[in-house]
Symmetry: D3
Subunit: 306 residues, 6 copies
Amino acid sequence: MKGIGQLAVGEMLDQRVMIKQSMKGIAANGKPYLTLILADKTGEIETKMWDTSDVEKYAPKFIVHAAGEVMDYRGRTQLKLKQITVLDETNVEEYIQAAPLPREQIETEVLQYIESIQQADMKRIVKHLVTKNFNAYFTHPAAVKNHHAFYSGLSYHVLSMLKLADQIAKLYPTLNRDLLVAGVVLHDYAKIKELSDPVTPEYTLPGKLVGHISLMVAELEKVGAELEIDAEVLTVLQHLVLSHHGRPEWGSAVAPQMREAEVLFLIDNLDARMTMMDRLLEYVEPGQFSERSFALDNRSFYRPKL
Amino acid sequence: MKGIGQLAVGEMLDQRVMIKQSMKGIAANGKPYLTLILADKTGEIETKMWDTSDVEKYAPKFIVHAAGEVMDYRGRTQLKLKQITVLDETNVEEYIQAAPLPREQIETEVLQYIESIQQADMKRIVKHLVTKNFNAYFTHPAAVKNHHAFYSGLSYHVLSMLKLADQIAKLYPTLNRDLLVAGVVLHDYAKIKELSDPVTPEYTLPGKLVGHISLMVAELEKVGAELEIDAEVLTVLQHLVLSHHGRPEWGSAVAPQMREAEVLFLIDNLDARMTMMDRLLEYVEPGQFSERSFALDNRSFYRPKL
Amino acid sequence: MKGIGQLAVGEMLDQRVMIKQSMKGIAANGKPYLTLILADKTGEIETKMWDTSDVEKYAPKFIVHAAGEVMDYRGRTQLKLKQITVLDETNVEEYIQAAPLPREQIETEVLQYIESIQQADMKRIVKHLVTKNFNAYFTHPAAVKNHHAFYSGLSYHVLSMLKLADQIAKLYPTLNRDLLVAGVVLHDYAKIKELSDPVTPEYTLPGKLVGHISLMVAELEKVGAELEIDAEVLTVLQHLVLSHHGRPEWGSAVAPQMREAEVLFLIDNLDARMTMMDRLLEYVEPGQFSERSFALDNRSFYRPKL
Amino acid sequence: MKGIGQLAVGEMLDQRVMIKQSMKGIAANGKPYLTLILADKTGEIETKMWDTSDVEKYAPKFIVHAAGEVMDYRGRTQLKLKQITVLDETNVEEYIQAAPLPREQIETEVLQYIESIQQADMKRIVKHLVTKNFNAYFTHPAAVKNHHAFYSGLSYHVLSMLKLADQIAKLYPTLNRDLLVAGVVLHDYAKIKELSDPVTPEYTLPGKLVGHISLMVAELEKVGAELEIDAEVLTVLQHLVLSHHGRPEWGSAVAPQMREAEVLFLIDNLDARMTMMDRLLEYVEPGQFSERSFALDNRSFYRPKL
Amino acid sequence: MKGIGQLAVGEMLDQRVMIKQSMKGIAANGKPYLTLILADKTGEIETKMWDTSDVEKYAPKFIVHAAGEVMDYRGRTQLKLKQITVLDETNVEEYIQAAPLPREQIETEVLQYIESIQQADMKRIVKHLVTKNFNAYFTHPAAVKNHHAFYSGLSYHVLSMLKLADQIAKLYPTLNRDLLVAGVVLHDYAKIKELSDPVTPEYTLPGKLVGHISLMVAELEKVGAELEIDAEVLTVLQHLVLSHHGRPEWGSAVAPQMREAEVLFLIDNLDARMTMMDRLLEYVEPGQFSERSFALDNRSFYRPKL
Amino acid sequence: MKGIGQLAVGEMLDQRVMIKQSMKGIAANGKPYLTLILADKTGEIETKMWDTSDVEKYAPKFIVHAAGEVMDYRGRTQLKLKQITVLDETNVEEYIQAAPLPREQIETEVLQYIESIQQADMKRIVKHLVTKNFNAYFTHPAAVKNHHAFYSGLSYHVLSMLKLADQIAKLYPTLNRDLLVAGVVLHDYAKIKELSDPVTPEYTLPGKLVGHISLMVAELEKVGAELEIDAEVLTVLQHLVLSHHGRPEWGSAVAPQMREAEVLFLIDNLDARMTMMDRLLEYVEPGQFSERSFALDNRSFYRPKL
């Protein structure tokens, strides 16, 4: 049985899925309808339920049995729903996209990198922070959409960047490996405060009004005082977090002013773009172009025949 | 006796002044020289000492007796130094530009505005912070150059904005006056961490790598936890501080998302520009244009004859 | 009985309203329909009439009795029309949004500010211009949409700015109050030429090809010659009008080059934004965010619980 | 005898020239000096007079006998002055750069183009305006520096554009030739108000605070009322003038909204750039690059060997 | 019988036309439909076929008999299809828009301009290239949409520019006419590689990944080597092609660095804009505004009554 | 004996060095002088020779014995020259900065990476091109200034990027390693045409008018035809070269449209920035900031004490 993300136009869906979002609307002809986002581990698809606005009956995180045909609607797939039944189940974790590695492996590898930090205070504060919100850190997504918007997406993104950082630190010996590792582990840490929960993430009030970058700088200040962390270590970690979007116009309050800050920005960018390009080209045949991606400057990507 | 800022081209200086800056150089003909910035309460002027590079003898904060003639050098005044003698004095506060109001009056009025805050937690955290660094808050400048770059410049700027905020809150009754007042008092508070000292201010390491906006958001987090401040109050104050530069490209990590945040940004701008325009036009005759001001988009301003 | 602007989704409309706009269209299924904008004093709402294209029968400024239910359509309210009858009435002024103050009060207060101008020629030309188009000046809106797009919107905007200007002139004594007052009264004066009429305003040909700023500079030249106004007064007033959008990229032919021109630009901005934010947040509950506003840089605004 | 503009580095000047500008300065060694711009019909050169600040003795428009050697100073030529004597002469017109055509020929040809306008009101207002300031229109430069900054530069620029407009109107028959001709004649007309005089032009107060574009729109309004010009003609001429800088960010209050306005903008640009490129490449050998030109986007131009 | 481009809203179509594009979709109510672009020599119109998705039966380049009524859909015309029958015909050339001049005339005139080139190598390479792809050069459009998107659009655009270049070379004698002529003939030459075919043009793979500008520079290198063209001629022609979009942000790899390159850019722009404005205003009445044009900076154009 | 790049302010130079540049000037006092750039393997320093303009006697690539003291001139070091003697030596290669690895090692490693390409045509064209200009490819710098502006700078930059590409291809298995390797080897290949020679590089005429990116696309076209390379391979290699500056505004004619093109752009950027940051921080003490770097967005970088 194919998953939602694997169905092509013309194929039929007839299986258990989770409602991820549910929104009311009225059609051009004045009738009410619901827009549902149905999801399973392989992806998600939009569908319409006509002549109903019962958003409580078809609520997010409900498990349903749905049947219908996959159609093309303005270049995007959409499900033409034939039948839908709400089930009495709550095992949502079986219906959500997750990182390509098991959570346990991500945990083990990230913790090994943290253990490899040499500088005592830096290691102490990084360990403290990850331990303090252990579960959230290893289950939260890195975003609501775009790159790493899946269960454990945050820590999977961190792990990919740690591997890059490790190689780059070997190729460029002037880099302080401790700073790079600590910066990677902490740079998106406050996404656990910015986003509400790992399954159906939404922006929180502090997420909207303050944002994960400033929330993390504030967290470092508070925890740094509790643990009596060395002032230089604290300032430098705050700088790594603050500058990791690279330029003010991309949401960075200050521009990178240390080698390690510049590299952190560049490999964050590299991992995010690779992930988005891979998803975009996943089902594209050799010799074809993908759809356009808004997050990739509205570009369409080509998959060579070579 | 005229002060430094009041001397016109062709007039003579012959009095006690303070060395504000001292820098070594070598001339086009290969000889060493010192560039000194001499200052008193009324302003400052640049001068050159030829054939010396003794920056220890003519160091910042030293009081000297200087004599010479004011010349025009590429449109800016410069002192042609005839004689300079280092004095054994340390009363630097008599030689620095200060706010146009006495510090005591600024203190009294700012504290009255703080007392007028109604919301209990907001008043509590604002009072705590101002009290905690009372002396620095009422003596620091608001900048190294441009607007309010003088002794007590920070609190004088705050007081001017409080008066504006007070009137605007009366004209637009939907504004939450408490939020405006608290936002004005706190918005530049962390300049006391960003700048080294009130007399010869320089950027500190946290000032460069983190910046006063993020330093303040972090300070609010730490103190908010200590005082157990209500979460909504804390988030909203952090937002006011974070967004007060208005747009990301002007150094604001997030754009204003509350009425009061937008108004805070606008009146900060209004007070800063009025102050810069007033200084620019101070000695300009009616019917004449001022010099160009880099900080005012390189504009030159006209003083009408009316 | 609730007005159009006060109805929530799910509530019923059943009352007299005015047709403000009427546009033909064809639906996705090929059938013709009309889009009507229905309005009363409290606001306006869009509705669709299916299977008709009779734009003469349902024309702008016609009074109708309309009934239907308020629905949500992609985040905006829309009326699901059940019944509509054209009435034989012409009292359109009872169905249009107007300034929050009575026209008489606006007139009286604006005229008092004009009387307070000290400089003779400046007072003479300002009085002449306002008197010459008295009725239009006190009934025109300030815009077709966005801020102050209502009956007497122009003069209400002027009055709000005069109150601000008055306070600011007190706080910053270097400002020439006459110039500020005259600049505020005249800055948008030529909107009475740019927009066709106060009830269903559209851009005129000179409005599109020349624009209200240049139209006003031209008007000042012509009237200045008639009244033999002092050359400096005329040039300075033309500059205030020309520069009040602040920067070339915001439609200002020249940048402000006088203190009063800069302040005029800033308080125009402040009043426009306060008005837009107030309208945006009018029905938003504490703790909630508003819709996004295109005119406010696509921001959504938060109404704090405090 | 070579003119100033024809002297190469290493050659000697020893002849009568005019002082075009005279500015005081003090050298790095504290001594006063004068910077003079010396000019004749072929060009101008900068020189320094050491140990003097007598700007009254060496004033603009004075004729002097000067001798010295042409040197290279940071890539620009500069005269090393050996001797200078003020003469008792006032024939400044023999020492200023002028258009490459005699003024009489420019007059005759421009007037012929004006006569060729068919539409009565358009012809009437154009003739009236040119006649009213006949002498100024045919002697003013088009600018203080950059393109057409010479005696009769304004009308020479107009004539070149008229020839272009004439050909383009033939190639694109949908263009209204009358509008193009009238637009070309009037587009820079108000430079006679913006710039003080044809020999040593400086910006006037209305030139700085209002600018030639708005001054012309205002002039058309006033004269249009006097001559009772048709409203459409007036609006359309105002639009041509207003939009001829093409885009708001290039100083155009409105963008071109008629075919003829777009073409006016494009040929103004074409003639200005051709003139600047020709001057830049005038003495450049085949196979060489010119200096960089700030007004041409800081580009350097190549003269091919072909 | 009126052509497709001449039909007004409310008129009927009942004649032979060509299917230019055919795309599948599903409606808001879940039903499939086809969007067809129907075309003839005078223009094209969009229509919808309901309840079918048979894109093979209604394929591009098929000739059909279609009947229906022209409707207005959101400001654009659309055909409400009543009947459609596929015909057994293949004479597509009778149904496509073509240049306003016969192909033979375009050929003759362009070849005469090429013959007028004086420089031997330049003439040789230009003739070789045009001869090598003679048929494609004189039938390809210059674009998929916007300006000159019709049969022989490329060579018609070239011919219009050659006429402009000819006149401009006479008015500005410093221009090298050979370079201008050769630059005009070659500047868009590689559109024959960038676009698939003259009737239903689409971007090719090299068109997307390399683009016509770089494809032409590469072609010149290869052919230049074959014909042993003088190095300076080759470099200069490559520069003319490379820089003809004027600025990097408009797709030009290098900015123009020769007089002729700057003029080539300007007249390419002039001809493109005249063509777009003419098409936009073709059916607009005097005293009216056109639709907005995205390619013309979203401007609407006015057709004066004069 | 310390090299030029290692001397601090106040230290003495007294040894053999090479003249790298020699430029004439005249001082503010009217006297001629020469500005010389003196260089050895460790760096370069500017000096002035007073009262001479004999640029033939002190010409580029001449070996001299120079003595003097290192001074600070406006924040940059400058040599105060005491004595200079031209020597009869020509061993310039002993006086120029070179890559940190021996040329032989760079050759060997780069060739190994080329051998590892799997796809036959891709390997063939890459080998052909590198072999064809073997000596130039392994001695040219990558730039005149900024990053890798030294002997063998081009191939050293290529080798660093190959190591990065190799690791990244392992971490992201969807990348086509052949394409990455070929793209890295070829991306800056045409710098050997853009820059005149490896010792005192200047831009060539094709370098200025065409640029290394377009020169390489053209070279691939010509050589691709000679070797009959597969069309897809050729197009894809041209795309990698064309898009490696990432965005049109950074000089890229097309944006990257393949995963490998995006990664090529990112690692080119990463290696360039690491190299510039390393040079900037080379002699900076822990706890200090570097000078500002124009090429790094005018940033100053901090070297942490950790």
